[in-house]
Symmetry: C2
Subunit: 200 residues, 2 copies
Protein backbone atom coordinates (compact mmCIF):
# COMPACT_ATOMS: atom_id res chain seq x y z
CA UNK A 1 0.00 0.00 0.00
CA UNK A 2 1.45 3.34 -1.07
CA UNK A 3 0.93 5.47 2.00
CA UNK A 4 2.74 8.54 0.69
CA UNK A 5 0.17 8.75 -2.11
CA UNK A 6 -2.76 8.30 0.24
CA UNK A 7 -1.32 10.85 2.67
CA UNK A 8 -1.05 13.42 -0.17
CA UNK A 9 -4.66 12.79 -1.16
CA UNK A 10 -5.90 13.26 2.41
CA UNK A 11 -3.80 16.40 2.85
CA UNK A 12 -5.40 17.90 -0.29
CA UNK A 13 -8.89 16.94 0.90
CA UNK A 14 -8.26 18.69 4.22
CA UNK A 15 -6.74 21.72 2.45
CA UNK A 16 -9.75 22.33 0.20
CA UNK A 17 -12.06 22.59 3.21
CA UNK A 18 -10.93 26.24 3.08
CA UNK A 19 -13.02 26.79 -0.06
CA UNK A 20 -16.05 26.84 2.27
CA UNK A 21 -14.75 30.08 3.77
CA UNK A 22 -14.22 31.95 0.48
CA UNK A 23 -17.13 34.34 0.02
CA UNK A 24 -18.59 35.40 -3.30
CA UNK A 25 -20.56 38.55 -4.17
CA UNK A 26 -23.80 36.64 -4.77
CA UNK A 27 -26.38 36.07 -2.05
CA UNK A 28 -28.31 32.95 -1.17
CA UNK A 29 -31.94 32.89 -2.24
CA UNK A 30 -33.26 31.75 1.13
CA UNK A 31 -30.89 33.19 3.73
CA UNK A 32 -29.35 36.57 4.36
CA UNK A 33 -25.73 35.77 3.68
CA UNK A 34 -23.19 35.61 0.87
CA UNK A 35 -22.66 32.38 -0.99
CA UNK A 36 -19.33 30.61 -0.51
CA UNK A 37 -17.34 29.06 -3.31
CA UNK A 38 -17.72 25.43 -2.19
CA UNK A 39 -21.51 25.55 -2.23
CA UNK A 40 -21.41 27.51 -5.51
CA UNK A 41 -19.32 24.70 -7.01
CA UNK A 42 -21.85 22.10 -5.86
CA UNK A 43 -24.69 24.12 -7.36
CA UNK A 44 -22.90 24.47 -10.70
CA UNK A 45 -22.28 20.71 -10.78
CA UNK A 46 -26.01 20.09 -10.33
CA UNK A 47 -26.71 22.55 -13.16
CA UNK A 48 -24.21 20.77 -15.40
CA UNK A 49 -26.05 17.50 -14.82
CA UNK A 50 -29.50 18.97 -15.42
CA UNK A 51 -28.86 21.48 -18.21
CA UNK A 52 -26.32 19.65 -20.38
CA UNK A 53 -28.97 19.18 -23.06
CA UNK A 54 -28.93 22.96 -23.57
CA UNK A 55 -25.24 23.15 -24.47
CA UNK A 56 -24.62 24.32 -28.05
CA UNK A 57 -22.31 21.40 -28.76
CA UNK A 58 -22.40 17.85 -27.35
CA UNK A 59 -20.57 17.78 -24.01
CA UNK A 60 -19.15 15.07 -21.78
CA UNK A 61 -21.31 15.72 -18.71
CA UNK A 62 -18.99 13.88 -16.29
CA UNK A 63 -16.05 16.04 -17.44
CA UNK A 64 -18.08 19.24 -17.13
CA UNK A 65 -19.13 18.21 -13.61
CA UNK A 66 -15.52 17.52 -12.62
CA UNK A 67 -14.43 20.81 -14.20
CA UNK A 68 -16.92 22.93 -12.27
CA UNK A 69 -16.16 21.10 -9.01
CA UNK A 70 -12.52 22.10 -9.47
CA UNK A 71 -12.84 25.43 -11.29
CA UNK A 72 -12.56 27.75 -8.27
CA UNK A 73 -10.23 25.82 -5.94
CA UNK A 74 -7.48 28.36 -6.71
CA UNK A 75 -9.59 30.93 -4.84
CA UNK A 76 -8.35 29.40 -1.58
CA UNK A 77 -5.18 31.45 -2.11
CA UNK A 78 -6.22 33.94 -4.79
CA UNK A 79 -9.61 34.93 -3.33
CA UNK A 80 -12.78 35.46 -5.32
CA UNK A 81 -12.10 38.11 -7.97
CA UNK A 82 -15.30 40.04 -8.58
CA UNK A 83 -16.45 39.52 -12.15
CA UNK A 84 -16.93 43.28 -12.75
CA UNK A 85 -13.71 44.43 -11.03
CA UNK A 86 -11.38 45.50 -13.86
CA UNK A 87 -8.49 46.41 -11.54
CA UNK A 88 -8.49 43.02 -9.81
CA UNK A 89 -8.72 41.30 -13.20
CA UNK A 90 -5.28 42.63 -14.14
CA UNK A 91 -3.32 40.29 -11.87
CA UNK A 92 -6.00 37.59 -11.47
CA UNK A 93 -4.23 35.14 -13.75
CA UNK A 94 -0.89 35.57 -11.96
CA UNK A 95 -2.46 35.12 -8.51
CA UNK A 96 -4.44 32.08 -9.63
CA UNK A 97 -1.52 30.36 -11.31
CA UNK A 98 0.56 30.66 -8.14
CA UNK A 99 -2.39 29.24 -6.21
CA UNK A 100 -2.72 26.33 -8.66
CA UNK A 101 0.99 25.53 -8.26
CA UNK A 102 0.69 25.34 -4.50
CA UNK A 103 -2.71 23.71 -4.07
CA UNK A 104 -2.78 21.14 -6.87
CA UNK A 105 0.88 20.50 -6.00
CA UNK A 106 -0.24 18.85 -2.75
CA UNK A 107 -1.66 15.92 -4.76
CA UNK A 108 0.20 12.96 -6.26
CA UNK A 109 1.66 14.03 -9.60
CA UNK A 110 -0.88 12.29 -11.86
CA UNK A 111 -3.88 13.72 -10.00
CA UNK A 112 -2.30 17.18 -9.71
CA UNK A 113 -1.79 17.16 -13.46
CA UNK A 114 -5.33 16.02 -14.21
CA UNK A 115 -7.05 18.62 -12.02
CA UNK A 116 -4.75 21.41 -13.11
CA UNK A 117 -5.33 20.65 -16.78
CA UNK A 118 -9.09 20.65 -16.21
CA UNK A 119 -8.80 24.02 -14.51
CA UNK A 120 -6.66 25.45 -17.34
CA UNK A 121 -9.10 24.09 -19.92
CA UNK A 122 -11.93 25.85 -18.08
CA UNK A 123 -10.01 29.11 -17.84
CA UNK A 124 -9.22 29.18 -21.54
CA UNK A 125 -12.63 27.98 -22.72
CA UNK A 126 -11.06 26.10 -25.57
CA UNK A 127 -13.28 23.03 -25.65
CA UNK A 128 -17.02 22.39 -25.84
CA UNK A 129 -16.93 21.19 -22.21
CA UNK A 130 -15.16 24.34 -21.03
CA UNK A 131 -17.41 26.68 -23.01
CA UNK A 132 -20.47 25.08 -21.44
CA UNK A 133 -18.93 25.15 -17.94
CA UNK A 134 -18.12 28.86 -18.41
CA UNK A 135 -21.69 29.52 -19.56
CA UNK A 136 -23.02 27.90 -16.37
CA UNK A 137 -20.60 29.92 -14.24
CA UNK A 138 -21.88 33.13 -15.86
CA UNK A 139 -25.53 32.13 -15.82
CA UNK A 140 -25.73 31.27 -12.13
CA UNK A 141 -24.96 34.73 -10.68
CA UNK A 142 -27.53 36.27 -13.01
CA UNK A 143 -30.12 33.82 -11.74
CA UNK A 144 -29.19 34.58 -8.12
CA UNK A 145 -29.18 38.32 -8.70
CA UNK A 146 -32.57 38.28 -10.40
CA UNK A 147 -34.11 36.22 -7.58
CA UNK A 148 -32.68 38.47 -4.86
CA UNK A 149 -34.08 41.63 -6.50
CA UNK A 150 -30.67 42.50 -7.94
CA UNK A 151 -29.08 42.78 -4.52
CA UNK A 152 -25.48 42.22 -5.55
CA UNK A 153 -25.84 44.31 -8.74
CA UNK A 154 -27.17 47.21 -6.64
CA UNK A 155 -24.42 46.91 -4.04
CA UNK A 156 -21.77 47.25 -6.72
CA UNK A 157 -23.55 49.78 -8.94
CA UNK A 158 -23.73 47.39 -11.89
CA UNK A 159 -25.79 48.36 -14.96
CA UNK A 160 -27.54 46.09 -17.45
CA UNK A 161 -25.08 47.26 -20.13
CA UNK A 162 -22.23 45.93 -18.03
CA UNK A 163 -24.00 42.62 -17.46
CA UNK A 164 -24.62 42.25 -21.20
CA UNK A 165 -21.07 43.19 -22.06
CA UNK A 166 -19.37 40.87 -19.55
CA UNK A 167 -21.70 37.89 -20.08
CA UNK A 168 -22.11 37.78 -23.84
CA UNK A 169 -19.64 34.87 -23.95
CA UNK A 170 -22.35 32.73 -22.36
CA UNK A 171 -23.81 32.33 -25.84
CA UNK A 172 -20.70 30.41 -26.94
CA UNK A 173 -21.56 27.67 -24.46
CA UNK A 174 -25.33 27.84 -24.58
CA UNK A 175 -27.53 30.05 -26.75
CA UNK A 176 -30.46 28.82 -24.72
CA UNK A 177 -29.06 30.00 -21.37
CA UNK A 178 -27.98 33.32 -22.86
CA UNK A 179 -31.42 33.93 -24.34
CA UNK A 180 -33.02 33.18 -20.97
CA UNK A 181 -30.48 35.32 -19.08
CA UNK A 182 -31.17 38.29 -21.38
CA UNK A 183 -34.91 37.97 -20.82
CA UNK A 184 -34.33 37.91 -17.04
CA UNK A 185 -32.13 40.98 -17.37
CA UNK A 186 -34.76 42.90 -19.36
CA UNK A 187 -37.27 42.04 -16.69
CA UNK A 188 -34.82 43.07 -13.95
CA UNK A 189 -34.44 46.49 -15.60
CA UNK A 190 -38.23 46.80 -15.97
CA UNK A 191 -38.62 46.00 -12.28
CA UNK A 192 -35.97 48.57 -11.32
CA UNK A 193 -33.46 46.04 -9.93
CA UNK A 194 -30.67 47.73 -11.90
CA UNK A 195 -30.39 50.62 -14.38
CA UNK A 196 -30.11 49.95 -18.10
CA UNK A 197 -26.88 51.93 -18.42
CA UNK A 198 -24.79 54.65 -16.84
CA UNK A 199 -26.40 58.09 -16.96
CA UNK A 200 -24.63 60.30 -19.49
Amino acid sequence: MDDKRFEQQIRFILEIDKLKTILRRTYLLNADRSENTAEHSWHLAMMAILLAEHANEPVDVARVVKMVLVHDIVEIDAGDTYFYDKAAALDKSKREHAAADRIFGILPLDQAKELRELWEEFEHGQSADARFALALDRFMPQLHNYHTNGRSWAEHGITADQVLDRNAGMAEGSEKLWEFARALLDDAVAKGFLPAGKEK
Copy 2:
Protein backbone atom coordinates in the same frame (compact mmCIF):
# COMPACT_ATOMS: atom_id res chain seq x y z
CA MET B 1 -38.03 24.74 -27.73
CA ASP B 2 -39.72 22.96 -24.84
CA ASP B 3 -40.09 25.74 -22.32
CA LYS B 4 -42.09 23.74 -19.80
CA ARG B 5 -39.14 21.37 -19.46
CA PHE B 6 -36.62 24.19 -19.12
CA GLU B 7 -38.85 25.98 -16.62
CA GLN B 8 -39.02 22.80 -14.47
CA GLN B 9 -35.24 22.48 -14.56
CA ILE B 10 -34.73 26.11 -13.49
CA ARG B 11 -37.32 25.77 -10.74
CA PHE B 12 -35.46 22.74 -9.32
CA ILE B 13 -32.13 24.58 -9.52
CA LEU B 14 -33.60 27.49 -7.56
CA GLU B 15 -35.22 25.11 -5.05
CA ILE B 16 -32.02 23.28 -4.18
CA ASP B 17 -30.34 26.56 -3.20
CA LYS B 18 -31.98 25.75 0.16
CA LEU B 19 -29.49 22.93 0.73
CA LYS B 20 -26.96 25.66 1.56
CA THR B 21 -28.99 26.48 4.67
CA ILE B 22 -29.22 22.93 6.05
CA LEU B 23 -26.68 22.61 8.85
CA ARG B 24 -24.85 19.44 9.79
CA ARG B 25 -23.26 18.47 13.12
CA THR B 26 -19.72 18.64 11.75
CA TYR B 27 -17.59 21.78 11.94
CA LEU B 28 -15.39 23.37 9.33
CA LEU B 29 -11.67 22.89 9.79
CA ASN B 30 -10.81 26.56 9.28
CA ALA B 31 -13.79 28.52 10.56
CA ASP B 32 -15.91 28.43 13.66
CA ARG B 33 -19.19 27.32 12.16
CA SER B 34 -21.14 24.20 11.25
CA GLU B 35 -20.83 22.75 7.80
CA ASN B 36 -23.86 22.94 5.54
CA THR B 37 -25.07 20.11 3.36
CA ALA B 38 -24.35 21.76 0.00
CA GLU B 39 -20.67 22.30 0.78
CA HIS B 40 -20.48 18.81 2.32
CA SER B 41 -21.81 17.38 -0.96
CA TRP B 42 -19.15 19.26 -2.94
CA HIS B 43 -16.44 17.97 -0.62
CA LEU B 44 -17.65 14.37 -0.97
CA ALA B 45 -17.65 14.71 -4.76
CA MET B 46 -14.01 15.81 -4.65
CA MET B 47 -13.22 12.82 -2.44
CA ALA B 48 -14.98 10.48 -4.86
CA ILE B 49 -12.77 11.79 -7.67
CA LEU B 50 -9.54 11.53 -5.69
CA LEU B 51 -10.06 8.36 -3.66
CA ALA B 52 -11.87 6.09 -6.14
CA GLU B 53 -8.74 3.95 -6.43
CA HIS B 54 -9.27 2.93 -2.79
CA ALA B 55 -12.73 1.43 -3.37
CA ASN B 56 -12.89 -2.32 -2.72
CA GLU B 57 -14.56 -2.98 -6.06
CA PRO B 58 -14.17 -1.09 -9.35
CA VAL B 59 -16.52 1.91 -9.37
CA ASP B 60 -17.87 4.24 -12.04
CA VAL B 61 -16.43 7.49 -10.68
CA ALA B 62 -18.81 9.73 -12.63
CA ARG B 63 -21.80 7.87 -11.17
CA VAL B 64 -20.39 8.05 -7.63
CA VAL B 65 -19.83 11.80 -8.07
CA LYS B 66 -23.40 12.30 -9.27
CA MET B 67 -24.69 10.14 -6.42
CA VAL B 68 -22.94 12.12 -3.70
CA LEU B 69 -23.96 15.43 -5.26
CA VAL B 70 -27.59 14.29 -4.98
CA HIS B 71 -27.46 12.10 -1.86
CA ASP B 72 -28.63 14.69 0.69
CA ILE B 73 -31.01 16.87 -1.35
CA VAL B 74 -33.95 15.35 0.56
CA GLU B 75 -32.62 17.16 3.66
CA ILE B 76 -34.17 20.36 2.29
CA ASP B 77 -37.47 19.06 3.68
CA ALA B 78 -36.37 16.26 6.01
CA GLY B 79 -33.49 18.09 7.73
CA ASP B 80 -30.15 16.56 8.59
CA THR B 81 -30.75 13.49 10.76
CA TYR B 82 -27.83 13.15 13.16
CA PHE B 83 -26.00 9.91 12.47
CA TYR B 84 -26.02 8.86 16.15
CA ASP B 85 -29.63 9.88 16.89
CA LYS B 86 -31.56 6.61 17.24
CA ALA B 87 -34.92 8.29 17.86
CA ALA B 88 -34.69 10.45 14.75
CA ALA B 89 -33.60 7.42 12.73
CA LEU B 90 -37.01 5.79 13.32
CA ASP B 91 -38.93 8.04 10.92
CA LYS B 92 -35.97 9.19 8.82
CA SER B 93 -36.92 7.02 5.86
CA LYS B 94 -40.54 8.20 5.87
CA ARG B 95 -39.54 11.87 6.07
CA GLU B 96 -36.96 11.50 3.35
CA HIS B 97 -39.23 9.64 0.96
CA ALA B 98 -41.86 12.36 1.24
CA ALA B 99 -39.11 14.91 0.58
CA ALA B 100 -37.91 12.97 -2.46
CA ASP B 101 -41.46 12.90 -3.86
CA ARG B 102 -41.80 16.66 -3.60
CA ILE B 103 -38.31 17.82 -4.53
CA PHE B 104 -37.36 15.44 -7.35
CA GLY B 105 -40.97 15.82 -8.52
CA ILE B 106 -40.19 19.39 -9.58
CA LEU B 107 -38.01 18.06 -12.41
CA PRO B 108 -39.09 16.71 -15.81
CA LEU B 109 -40.08 13.07 -15.38
CA ASP B 110 -36.95 11.49 -16.88
CA GLN B 111 -34.59 13.57 -14.75
CA ALA B 112 -36.71 13.14 -11.62
CA LYS B 113 -36.55 9.38 -12.13
CA GLU B 114 -32.79 9.37 -12.71
CA LEU B 115 -31.91 11.42 -9.62
CA ARG B 116 -34.39 9.60 -7.42
CA GLU B 117 -33.06 6.21 -8.46
CA LEU B 118 -29.51 7.35 -7.75
CA TRP B 119 -30.60 8.50 -4.28
CA GLU B 120 -32.41 5.21 -3.59
CA GLU B 121 -29.37 3.26 -4.77
CA PHE B 122 -27.22 5.25 -2.36
CA GLU B 123 -29.64 4.74 0.53
CA HIS B 124 -29.76 0.98 0.04
CA GLY B 125 -26.05 0.54 -0.64
CA GLN B 126 -26.78 -2.24 -3.08
CA SER B 127 -24.13 -1.55 -5.70
CA ALA B 128 -20.37 -1.06 -5.69
CA ASP B 129 -20.90 2.63 -6.50
CA ALA B 130 -23.33 3.08 -3.58
CA ARG B 131 -21.15 1.17 -1.13
CA PHE B 132 -18.20 3.41 -1.99
CA ALA B 133 -20.33 6.58 -1.79
CA LEU B 134 -21.60 5.49 1.64
CA ALA B 135 -18.04 4.82 2.79
CA LEU B 136 -17.05 8.37 1.79
CA ASP B 137 -20.10 9.80 3.57
CA ARG B 138 -19.07 7.99 6.76
CA PHE B 139 -15.37 8.72 6.42
CA MET B 140 -15.71 12.48 6.02
CA PRO B 141 -17.25 13.30 9.43
CA GLN B 142 -14.57 11.22 11.15
CA LEU B 143 -11.91 13.20 9.33
CA HIS B 144 -13.57 16.49 10.32
CA ASN B 145 -14.04 15.40 13.91
CA TYR B 146 -10.45 14.28 14.28
CA HIS B 147 -9.13 17.56 12.85
CA THR B 148 -11.35 19.68 15.09
CA ASN B 149 -10.19 17.87 18.25
CA GLY B 150 -13.38 15.80 18.36
CA ARG B 151 -15.58 18.87 18.71
CA SER B 152 -18.82 17.38 17.43
CA TRP B 153 -18.23 14.02 19.19
CA ALA B 154 -17.76 15.88 22.48
CA GLU B 155 -20.85 18.05 22.00
CA HIS B 156 -23.01 14.97 21.57
CA GLY B 157 -21.27 12.72 24.12
CA ILE B 158 -20.20 10.19 21.47
CA THR B 159 -17.81 7.38 22.44
CA ALA B 160 -15.31 5.52 20.26
CA ASP B 161 -17.43 2.37 20.68
CA GLN B 162 -20.36 4.17 19.09
CA VAL B 163 -18.21 5.44 16.23
CA LEU B 164 -16.90 1.93 15.59
CA ASP B 165 -20.35 0.41 15.77
CA ARG B 166 -22.06 2.90 13.46
CA ASN B 167 -19.25 3.17 10.92
CA ALA B 168 -18.16 -0.43 10.47
CA GLY B 169 -20.09 -0.52 7.17
CA MET B 170 -17.41 1.75 5.73
CA ALA B 171 -15.31 -1.39 5.22
CA GLU B 172 -17.84 -2.68 2.67
CA GLY B 173 -17.02 0.28 0.42
CA SER B 174 -13.35 0.70 1.24
CA GLU B 175 -11.18 -1.39 3.54
CA LYS B 176 -8.49 1.23 3.08
CA LEU B 177 -10.63 4.12 4.36
CA TRP B 178 -11.93 2.05 7.24
CA GLU B 179 -8.44 1.05 8.29
CA PHE B 180 -7.34 4.69 8.21
CA ALA B 181 -10.48 5.86 10.07
CA ARG B 182 -9.86 3.30 12.84
CA ALA B 183 -6.28 4.50 13.23
CA LEU B 184 -7.50 8.11 13.51
CA LEU B 185 -10.07 7.01 16.08
CA ASP B 186 -7.46 5.22 18.20
CA ASP B 187 -5.36 8.33 18.10
CA ALA B 188 -8.39 10.50 18.98
CA VAL B 189 -9.00 8.34 22.07
CA ALA B 190 -5.30 8.53 23.00
CA LYS B 191 -5.44 12.31 22.70
CA GLY B 192 -8.59 12.48 24.85
CA PHE B 193 -10.89 13.81 22.09
CA LEU B 194 -13.52 11.22 23.04
CA PRO B 195 -13.80 8.35 25.54
CA ALA B 196 -13.30 4.75 24.42
CA GLY B 197 -16.69 3.68 25.75
CA LYS B 198 -19.45 4.50 28.23
CA GLU B 199 -18.40 4.16 31.86
CA LYS B 200 -19.93 1.04 33.39
